[in-house]
């Protein structure tokens, strides 16, 4: 909580009220520069794309730093030196569920069998949440769950659809809901940051005080209710208690410490029904949230599980899921390559944006790991072998990027997740079905 590189919220607000925010911020920034550079926060983002990847156009032919970019990886050109391409990781644990896409989404960040039969919600804590919990309380949002496209809530073959609606599970029975509207996401995250001209210090504080009082009242209702409930109902009510706590913690922080000093939220993104615009606005929100140190952990679904989106802006006429069942057809391959290239370009956009955000002696990207992946590798056969995997960022020096590496045969994707956890200072012996932590420097 006591980070020397932060300025008090009230100072920040007075600054903005006096319409001299930016010069003031820069001054404060330079005075704390050294202290800040010593402890830049580490961030984690997972970017998911649906329906797998056409690996034939994705995996580089050679390893090392001089590999040639494949057609689908071409958008990485400007940041090739910041990206680690990892091939030959499998995620076989996902199998054995009636819907292989859902199983793949649910195990993407757990590397464990997702249960989910018999309509049961019983997955595992995801790696993003493990990381988020290790830095709990240090930022206003413990983590953010975002998606550019709303997920299907029908046709889940008897598995709770929620297995495909989010990447993040706080624990075995708490899938974290995603925000799918970039404008709402922006407003939620920055509502207490971008203070309009009419909101003075006192008014905001008064509002926050009342909100906190409301939470006190409803929590005492929940306490009274709890005393009258049986075991099963109490477990359900626990969701309520933890939701109240989460908001309460944030409100307390809002009146105390300020937001990240370099934070310039800028204009609210326009409300849009256009998928591309919404996706881009979401990526902007993620970058801003990292830059402002509003959160350290984000999961983002660029497309919905088993997405049937029609990429007409790429001149693809069939729907994504349909095309992913390519059957070896050359037309489908062409379409998939176009879709995959666009997906990689979105990932590259985020990485490049973070790279251009100066922080300490480097950039925000230098202090981040951005993981790119999907629920399956080849969408036609729903394969869990050779999962498509990219990692952008150097994670404070924990990753030696700019290379293509092949994992030894039979390496589970869990080893990569455990390797990433090491970069965040986590010393857990195992994660999921890991056999060892993948060495990201060698």
């Amino acid at each position: 909580m006591n980070r020397p590189w932060r300025i008090a919220r009230r100072t920040f607000l007075r600054g903005t009220a006096a319409s001299m925010a930016l010069p003031l911020l820069d001054q404060m920034w330079s005075s704390d520069r050294e202290a800040y550079a010593a402890t830049p926060p580490l961030r984690f983002a997972a970017v998911y794309v649906p329906n797998g990847i056409l690996m034939q156009r994705f995996t580089p032919a050679t390893t090392g730093s001089n590999y040639a970019l494949t057609p689908s990886l071409r958008p990485l050109e400007p940041i090739k030196s910041e990206v680690l391409v990892v091939s030959d990781l499998h995620n076989r644990v996902a199998g054995e569920l009636p819907n292989l896409h859902l199983a793949g989404v649910a195990s993407f960040l757990t590397a464990q069998f997702p249960n989910g039969r018999d309509g049961v919600i019983n997955n595992h804590t995801t790696v993003d949440q493990v990381i988020a919990q290790s830095v709990r309380g240090q930022t206003r949002f413990n983590s953010l769950e975002l998606a550019a496209e709303a997920g299907g809530i029908e046709g889940c073959d008897g598995i709770p659809c929620v297995y495909g609606l989010t990447l993040a599970w706080a624990n075995s029975r708490t899938p974290l809901k995603v925000e799918v509207n970039a404008q709402s996401a922006f407003n939620r995250i920055f509502s207490d940051v971008s203070t309009g001209p009419n909101v003075g210090d006192g008014e905001l504080e008064q509002r926050t005080k009342l909100r906190t009082s409301v939470l006190d009242v409803v929590r005492s209702d929940a306490d009274r209710l709890r005393a009258r409930l049986g075991t099963a109902d109490r477990l359900k009510l626990e969701e309520y208690f933890s939701s109240v706590r989460e908001l309460e913690t944030r409100l307390m922080q809002a009146t105390g410490a300020g937001t990240g000093q370099m934070c310039k939220p800028g204009a609210v993104p326009a409300k849009t029904l256009d998928y591309r615009a919404n996706a881009k606005a979401m990526l902007d929100v993620i970058a801003l949230a990292f830059q402002c140190d509003i959160t350290r952990v984000v999961t983002f679904m660029l497309g919905a599980w088993e997405s049937s989106y029609v990429f007409d802006f790429l001149s693809v006429r069939a729907d994504h899921h349909g095309v992913s069942h390519h059957g070896g057809d050359s037309g489908n391959w062409r379409d998939l390559e176009a879709i995959n290239t666009w997906e990689v370009s979105q990932f590259a956009y985020l990485a490049e944006k973070l790279k251009n955000m100066k922080e300490g002696d480097g950039s925000v990207l230098d202090h981040s790991a951005l993981l790119f992946g999907s629920d399956v590798s080849d969408g036609d056969s729903h394969s869990y072998e050779n999962m498509p995997t990219l990692v952008a960022g150097r994670l404070g020096g924990a990753i030696n990027s700019g290379r293509h590496i092949r994992a030894p045969e039979g390496t589970p994707a869990a080893n990569l997740l455990l390797g990433l956890m090491r970069g965040y200072g986590l010393t857990d012996a195992r994660f999921g079905n890991s056999t060892a932590a993948l060495n990201l420097k060698a």
Binding site: N115, K177, Y240, D312, G327
Partner: protein, 563 residues
Amino acid sequence: MHHRLSRPAFVPVLLALMVGCQGRVSAPDGAESGDSAIAGAGGGEPGPLLGIPEGQTCAANVDPGRTVLRRLTADEYDNTLRDLLGDASTPGRGFPADDQSAADQLILTGLLFEKYETAASTVVDAVWQREMTSSKTEPHLLICKPSGGDTACARRLIKTFARKAFRRPVDDAELAAYYKLAESGDIVAGTKAAVRALLTSPFFLFRIEVPSAGDASKVSPLSPHELATRLSYALWASTPDARLDQLADSGTLAKSDVLQTEIRRMLADPKAEALATSFSARWLGFREVLSSRPDAQMFPEVTPALLASMALETERFMRELIVQDRPLIDLLDAEFTFADAGLAQHYGLPTAGLSEQALTRVDVAGQARRGILGHGSFLVSTSPPTRTSPVKRGKWVAGRLLCSAPPPPPPGEDIPSEAATQAKTERERLAIHRVKPQCAGCHELIDPIGLGLDRYDPVGKFRDEVKGQPIDDSGVMPDGTAFKGPNELATLLRKDRRFAECTAHHLLTWTLGRVPQGADGCLVGEVADTLVKPGAGISELWSTIVKSRAFTHRRGDVQGETP
């Protein structure tokens, strides 16, 4: 919930997957424990209870089951605000989607809680402003106007609204914290905050059924107010109205004849359209067509407005069945639908007298297009952009209408492309792949259904040929019955016991907030029997459900039971 299948136990299911869907054809014996139902489900699905003998009734002491705390869904939340505060802003549409109506799967997380908090603030400000400035109508909230040191008004306002928001009588003691909040500073800001708190309290956000004191595991009838709440959310997806409150207060609601009168009254109320807009929307998925994207070059005539008309067609159609108290089974072959001029033209129906803007009831007697199987919402949402998919249509019918969806293909199996098979028609292509035994088991259940509907093109129009090949829409169901075309298929589905049981399954899941299990088999059977009873309208169906022990009673926690 029950997590019965441990990992090793799953191996036999995998084997079943490999050999196809044989396990599906013979319905499991639902009268036994849920295990058999699950084993029969083939893909490890939650095992709808199927194959329940006709004409059986539930024993008087049947286990009524129990539902955990049930959070309001987004629709229920919006409807409830509408009825409590006259608010039409539908904030719930911006909430993260719920994928289930079973209570244990209605998860609450921080994000959703924040949405509730924000919505409460916005809605209270709006109603406050509305009722401060206008006194034309009966106030929803401002029965008096709090000001200055007048705490009596604030208390009265809070208590009156709490009674409605909590759906039960309240007393001053439990509202003490609310009164204190209202009086803590500026009385207006404080009272608004207190109302916001009422709308954020677990007593509002959850439908609460608390076991009476004593042995928490024993069966007890719902309290009158809990019963009113169940009834109201079952038929209206909203909060009880003044009359239900009154009947609950007087303790008369549970009487059989009172319930009967209320069911009829409630179904005649416009609020019962929730059964079309919420229940049916989920069951039949008719809004999925709104995100369908038929190929613009092949089908330039398909506009977003036309797709919207298709979704509305099914909604209005279901509403009509309810309003007219028709048998619900008529959804398969009713001789009417709803259309505007554009949709009628698209379907090839007469357009004379139809509005360009609004859908009206259209007679389709004697036409080949009847019932839900002829609705664009189903036909288009199950089609890829450029062609039909008999597999998807067949799976939709088998899954949604018969609760018998086969599992997806095992890893590594897929239908070969047209080019690979050099098949002239979709029928030939599917026949080639059904030669594989690992495909045949399941696809024999769904392919004939979809092929029987293939005279509807990807956008729901009639056609006689595809790429110069005439369409053969004949088929043979797994039990050997032959049929030709949509209307004969609808007739077969009407006689299929699985349709009646599956519909019962959907209705009971919606109503009880849990998936019917083991002991509910008899009720599934009773509801299915009512559904096929000649002349029995929707009100009789609801009567069977509402008077059941599962609806009127509740079991407490069994020791060690976890959700």
